[in-house]
């Protein structure tokens, strides 16, 4: 591997969270962005071609080395690492609404889901998946929530716009209901 690819590998190994391209650039300030991306490609290819237990991923606002899924079961069985708990359907619903409608207040989420969500918002915030991003207009200036970088990372997304657009979903909202 090239010296730059090795430096990038070392830096990525030294971090538990994704590192944005710009931050990787700070490792070698004289390197141009094109060369940096080429070195990242080189590293990814090395992992894929020469057969490694890890791979290079691009999600959550940056680059990150992750283990390959085929080893997960053996690692968990040997109790060397544990997968995080699966999110409940209710949590995923709340996350989906926040991801698409952010910034969004609690009342609006409850209107869509039809259930109270305050304790769920708290636990999603504690898990670092959503955060308060501001305050709304209107009565009481409600807290507004949005998704975090960790949300992108945990759902293997580079940007929010990688989620299907509303009009790409199978069920499109019909503008007008026919009246019987």
């Amino acid at each position: 591997m090239s010296p730059l690819a090795k430096l990038l590998e070392a830096a990525l190994f030294a971090s538990a969270r994704p590192i944005p391209t710009a931050e990787l650039g700070a490792l070698s300030p004289e390197t141009e962005r094109g060369a940096l991306l080429a070195a990242l490609d080189e590293l990814r290819e090395h992992y894929d071609v020469s057969g490694h237990g890890v791979e290079l991923a691009d999600a959550g606002g940056g680059w990150q080395i992750l283990t390959r899924p085929e080893y997960t079961e053996a690692i968990e069985r040997a109790q060397l690492a544990a997968r995080p708990q699966r999110l409940s359907a209710a949590s995923l619903e709340t996350l989906a609404i926040i991801a698409y409608r952010q910034p969004i207040g609690r009342a609006e989420i409850e209107e869509i889901r039809g259930v109270s969500v305050s304790s769920m918002l708290k636990s999603l915030a504690e898990r670092g998946l959503v955060d308060v991003v501001g305050r709304g207009e209107g009565l009481g200036r409600p807290l507004l929530y949005g998704t975090t970088e960790l949300f992108l990372e945990q759902f293997a997304l580079r940007h929010l716009d990688e989620l299907p657009r509303a009009d790409e979903l199978a069920i499109a909202l019909r503008p007008q209901l026919k009246t019987a």
Binding site: R86, L92, E93, I112, R113, G114, D131, A156, A172, T179
Partner: protein, 246 residues
């Protein structure tokens, strides 16, 4: 998810209501099971089944389900009202419900996407062991701060004994003198106490506040010292007399 479970067990119709993430989820399942057109819901029949299901099992969020049940019954009543067949202004009382159901269904589709993506990521581990990570300290670096971080700091500072359900707190007169007597009595017995000893876990806000003010007052007059051994550690309340004797 639950539809698969239903198909596995033909004939039986026992559904765990906790398998539903809310009243709209349950409603959608009924519409699917009954194979009715979402744009032309037979409200009377669906409302009946909805109520039957809600009554079958106890629910965590019963209030949310009951609210939906009431809404269905209201729509059912509206549907029964006689109307002129060529009334242009008549609006289908189900329209708002259908809009919400479609919106909810659309969101469920996103949930499926998130579930798939999340599962893919869950099967990959990130680096866990980071030996000798340097902790850079530079006051010029940009700050990462959020309102929720500040809020949890407030939470920690106030160390409230319990988290009440959201309701209006009736203002109560503080009883600082009474709390001071309690603290003095406690320290006479134990010479050292913790916040938890002074304030019961289910204390009212006015009691918490009274105790806090009492401790501060006694600390100021030199009867006790307040000491926190480390961040987040429980605050130790020590009698000064006992400290000198020791």
């Amino acid at each position: 998810m639950h539809s698969a479970a239903l198909e596995d067990v033909p004939g039986t119709f026992v559904v765990e209501l906790t398998a539903f993430s809310g009243p709209l989820d349950l409603l959608l399942a009924l519409i699917r099971d009954e194979e009715v057109d979402i744009y032309d819901i037979p409200v009377a029949r669906i409302a009946e089944q909805f109520l039957a299901r809600v009554n079958e099992l106890e629910l965590d969020e019963a209030a949310d389900y009951l609210e939906m049940a009431a809404r269905l019954l209201r729509i059912k009543a509206q549907m029964l009202l006689p109307r002129n067949s060529d009334d242009e202004t008549w609006e289908d009382p189900r329209a708002e419900l259908v809009r919400r159901l479609l919106e909810y269904q659309q969101m469920r589709e996103v949930v499926d996407v998130l579930e798939r993506l999340g599962e893919g990521r869950r099967n990959r581990f990130a680096r866990a062991y980071l030996p000798d990570q340097p902790v850079p300290v530079a006051s010029s670096a940009p700050l990462s701060l959020s309102l929720s971080m500040l809020m949890s700091a407030v939470d920690r500072v106030l160390r409230v004994a319990h988290r009440p359900a959201i309701h209006d707190v009736v203002p109560r007169a503080l009883d600082v003198d009474g709390a001071m007597l309690t603290v003095r009595a406690l320290l006479a017995l134990r010479s050292s106490a913790r916040w938890r000893d002074v304030v019961a876990a289910d204390a009212e806000p006015w009691q918490v506040l009274s105790a806090l003010l009492a401790i501060l007052e006694l600390a100021r007059s030199g009867e006790l010292t307040v000491f926190q051994p480390g961040p987040f550690a429980p605050v130790e309340i020590n009698s000064v007399a006992a400290g000198q004797a020791a």
